[in-house]
């Protein structure tokens, strides 16, 4: 017979405000097995924990229930308390009477009744709890970073600095990401390439870092400390080891009409190309969709001009399998499509561009060599209209996103300021809903755009852009002056909302990492564990977790690296004690559990059994690898003969809980 203690927490007024904690403690005192029951203001405080420890000693408790917040919050805390008092940590159960009770009810009577039921349920379970001992698993001391933008690069550099090997997997032919496309960065206005490319070179030269560019993660197996990852190295038809990056092939290739994605299609590149001058690795890649040789077998110019002999038209995709201890998602963002927002005439006029396109137009290495001209006729624009929040903060999300994309206010101020600085003959208008510039030196920066550079900030949205002859007639409202305004602009720049990269969703599925409704990765805790995914061993870096500017991205990238290092320095990890196990006498070897196990933790063995008639028989039975099992419980539900059970969550325990709820 168990000797159970019950500890009801007030959580200040969080619980006590809607639950009569005294009544709960009194009611639960009479439950079977309960020998002690008390309430206290903050059970998680030192004094609260001491109260538990004393009760364990004084009343010889064999297990206890804490009626408090979610087990995600303090289960670990109270398990440690139990351990400190000499009790097995798995003899502790949490009844969640905060998130699932006091916070959702307003009526004291209902809240109290429900808290008693929840407490009773946990007690019913503890009555059947047994001490559990977790196993251990080794740690592969190597990290995988998925995505080679500034987030991925920074995370990889920091992990490598601590002495651990890192692989960066990047789908594009080069690392660098969005930052490589940006001209200048706010609020310092330093050149993005000048601060990014040295980091790219550092990554390339670091002997702990391996860059797998033009590659994709196609499968992830295993668990924290022991991930097994399949990586597809896409055929680039150029031998990376031999290519010197001289670029001769990219000048001679006769296929000149490929839209250049690095310049967002505003100019063209060849079918064999190096995305930009500072690309890492600096090797050519053949675009199979456009290469005449690969499509028709006739051409071969690049192979002829390549003095190194690096061109290989027969190259095939290569599949490699690697082991890692930790995985960092750094898949970044993209501007959303402007297609549903044709009130701004993006599809109708070349002179309606996105802010990222403007970055390329202003960049010395861009399609106009840094000449700020209109894409339609190459003329210098005099009146420029910026529209903020295009697709951001869309109420109801009929189209666009409900969230604020966070970076647009600052980069629009930057663009407006740069244009006014370089071309004082321009008039620049910015239409905004709100200007949001929190951040170090950010608001000062925006004020400078308004006060020193005379950028016209108008509160109100643009309703319509009508391409009319040479100009773009912009119809908008000025909410402060309460009037309609018309501006004949030469160029309209749309601050497009940003969204997670399309690769993030399938990756999240592979990693069993959770995502929010916008496909941003969810952090384990929004405040206390912001760079970890709820899935152990998976970490988050940069804009894949939410919209971020560069300073924030780099901070989070380093934070994620610190968490990875903290994992990789360990030689062994304590496994989950709540794992599945099979009762061999009941197992009929049907393989159902093996098929549903997402972790590949179940194998089969032939075992000899003694039969009632004294003969022996060989039977095929399931066996669980306890280091691999994550305790999800899928097998226990699937098993037709009831042989599979989950330690700590046995069928008996769960039925006892259900009975207690229904009592």
């Amino acid at each position: 017979m168990q000797r159970i203690g019950v500890f009801v927490c007030w959580c200040g007024t969080n619980i006590a405000g809607t639950v009569d904690v005294k009544r709960v403690a009194d009611a639960l005192r009479n439950e079977p097995g309960v020998v002690f029951s008390a309430e206290y203001q903050y059970m998680c405080s030192q004094a609260g924990q001491d109260m538990i420890k004393n009760a364990i000693r004084e009343h010889n408790l064999t297990g206890f229930v804490v009626c408090s917040c979610s087990p995600r919050m303090h289960e670990a805390t109270f398990r440690k308390t139990a351990e400190a008092a000499g009790l097995n940590p798995y003899m502790v159960e949490i009844a969640n009477i905060r998130e699932q009770c006091s916070w959702v009810h307003k009526d004291m009577e209902i809240g109290t009744e429900k808290a008693i039921v929840l407490g009773r349920t946990a007690i019913a379970k503890v009555n059947l709890n047994a001490p559990l001992t977790p196993g251990e698993s080794p740690v592969t001391k190597r990290a995988l970073v998925i995505g080679g933008g500034i987030a991925g690069i920074q995370t990889a550099l920091d992990i490598a600095d601590a002495g651990f090997p890192v692989d960066i997997v990047e789908t594009k032919p080069t690392i660098g990401g969005k930052m490589a496309q940006i001209d200048k960065t706010f609020p310092t206005l330093d050149c993005a390439a000048c601060i990014l490319t040295p980091k790219m070179v550092d990554a390339a030269q670091n002997d702990k870092i391996r860059i797998l560019s033009y590659s994709e993660v196609t499968d992830v197996r295993g668990f924290v400390g022991n991930f097994s990852v399949t990586i597809k190295r896409k055929a680039r038809y150029v031998n990376e080891e031999i290519c010197t990056g001289c670029g001769l092939c990219t000048e001679k290739c006769p296929q000149k009409k490929v839209p250049n994605e690095f310049n967002l299609g505003m100019d063209t590149r060849r079918a064999i190309y190096i995305p930009f001058a500072q690309a890492i690795p600096k090797v050519a890649t053949i675009d199979a969709d456009y290469c005449t040789m690969l499509k028709t077998g006739k051409c071969g110019v690049c192979a002829k001009v390549c003095t190194a002999g690096a061109i290989d038209y027969t190259q095939k995709d290569l599949i490699m399998e690697e082991k890692y201890g930790a995985i960092v998602a750094a898949t970044g963002f993209n501007p959303i499509s402007m297609e549903p927002f044709d009130e701004f005439a993006y599809s109708q006029s070349k002179d309606v561009i996105t802010s990222l396109e403007l970055e390329r137009l202003m960049n010395a290495a861009g399609p106009t060599s840094g000449q700020f001209v209109r894409p339609s006729d190459g003329k210098h624009p005099h009146k420029i209209v910026f529209v903020q929040c295009v697709g951001s903060r869309c109420a109801g999300a009929s189209k666009g996103k409900e969230y604020c994309s966070k970076i647009c206010c600052m980069y629009t101020a930057k663009h407006a300021m740069l244009i006014r600085d370089k071309y004082p003959d321009t008039e620049v208008y910015v239409f905004y809903i709100d200007v949001r510039t929190p951040g170090k030196n950010f608001d000062e920066f925006y004020r400078r755009a308004v006060e020193e550079y005379g950028v016209h900030y108008i509160k109100g949205m643009v309703g319509k852009v009508t391409p009319t002859g040479d100009t773009l007639r912009v119809q908008a409202s000025d909410l402060l002056a309460n009037k309609q305004i018309l501006i004949d602009a030469d160029l309209v720049v749309l601050a497009a909302a940003i969204e997670p990269d399309k690769s993030a969703r399938p990756l999240a599925t592979m990693l069993t990492a959770s995502m929010d409704t916008n496909d941003f990765f969810t952090e384990a805790h929004p405040k206390l564990r912001p760079v970890e995914s709820p899935t152990a061993g998976v970490f988050l870096s940069g804009a894949c977790q939410g919209p971020k500017d560069i300073p924030e991205t780099v901070s989070q990238a380093s934070a994620a690296a610190a968490k990875v290092i903290g994992l990789l320095v360990k030689d062994k990890l304590v496994c989950n004690a709540c794992v599945a196990s099979s009762d061999e006498a009941m197992c009929n070897g049907c393989s159902t559990c093996e098929r549903v196990c997402p972790y590949g933790a179940i194998t089969y063995a032939d075992k000899e059994f003694r039969m009632p008639d004294r003969t022996t028989r060989i039977r095929r039975v399931a066996q669980v690898n306890q280091a691999v099992c994550q305790g999800c419980g899928a097998c226990t539900v699937a098993c037709p003969s009831g042989a599979m059970d989950l330690r700590g969550f046995s069928n008996k325990q769960i039925m006892a809980e259900v009975d207690a709820v229904c009592k």
């Binding site: 297609e339 044709d342 009508t466």
Partner: protein, 266 residues
């Protein structure tokens, strides 16, 4: 096949061509527009006042008729279409509204949004199909640069109308292409013509319709095509007069070669 048809008041008075050619063309394409009996005016606008029931009963009765005949309810006029679709949507999604309407209906029966309301353009696109229409064209509109004018009521509110992208619609352009013409895309094609504001202040209609017509003309359009009698009225009366305005069904009749017959019949 047969569908139920709600012509609306304007199609019986000012916009007889819109109605006549709609029927002729549908017949030519194998669909009979059966006019529902005893229909009443749709009310002209869908009032956003949630306690305004009486003006929406006409739409509900028309929808009930379609349900009872197990056929979609087709309208041509953009305004009727808008009122009927919005009413149907409210009957499907607003239990409180539906309850009050059904109290009014009383012994006439009860209605909960079972019918499907579609615009004539949807009949052409989704039921008949533009490919079928392309095959039936006798006089292709070759060389004609035609500016489709959507106005506001045909597509908005887009979540209720469920017809096309309200900011970048293509249905009329696709139809023009199927008829052998060359669609002209211009920004003002989904802006308001001025609508009923013309009764209050003709200057508003002048400003709006003028903008629409100038934009279409400056993009090289030979004509503007619309499905809405009020849009046509405003564009013709209050536009700049640069290019003619025709009904969608007139254009279709011309391409299908049924237009002359219609004149003969008169």
């Amino acid at each position: 096949m047969k569908v139920r048809y709600f012509p609306g008041c304007t199609l019986k008075t000012k916009a007889k061509d819109l109605d006549r050619y709609a029927r002729l063309c549908a017949e030519e394409l194998g669909v009979t527009l059966e006019e529902i009996e005893n229909w009443q005016c749709c009310g002209g606008v869908f009032t956003t006042a949630t306690d305004e029931i009486a003006t929406k009963l006409s739409s509900v009765r028309a929808l009930m008729d379609a349900r009872d005949h197990d056929a979609p309810l087709v309208t041509v006029c953009s305004a009727c279409h808008n009122v009927i679709k919005q009413t149907n949507h409210a009957m499907q999604n607003d239990a409180d509204f539906a309850k009050h309407v059904n109290l009014y209906l009383g012994k006439d029966g009860q209605y909960y949004g079972e019918a499907k309301a579609i615009h004539y353009l949807e009949l052409l696109r989704d039921v008949i199909g533009f490919d079928t229409i392309r095959g039936k064209v006798k006089n292709p509109l070759a060389g004609k640069k035609i500016a489709a004018y959507y106005g506001c009521l045909l597509l908005r509110p887009s979540q209720t109308m469920q017809m096309d992208d309200p900011e970048n619609p293509t249905v009329m352009e696709d139809l023009i292409r199927a008829l052998g013409g060359e669609p002209v895309v211009y920004a003002q094609r989904n802006e308001c013509c001025g609508g009923y504001a013309v009764l209050e202040d003709a200057a508003i209609a002048k400003k709006n319709s003028g903008k629409v017509m100038t934009d279409a003309a400056s993009h090289g359009a030979d004509m503007i095509v619309t499905a809405c009698p009020l849009c046509r009225y405003n564009l013709e009366k209050n536009g700049t007069g640069e290019i003619p305005v025709v009904y969608l069904t007139e254009l279709l009749a011309e391409a299908l070669g049924v237009k002359e017959d219609a004149h003969d019949a008169q």
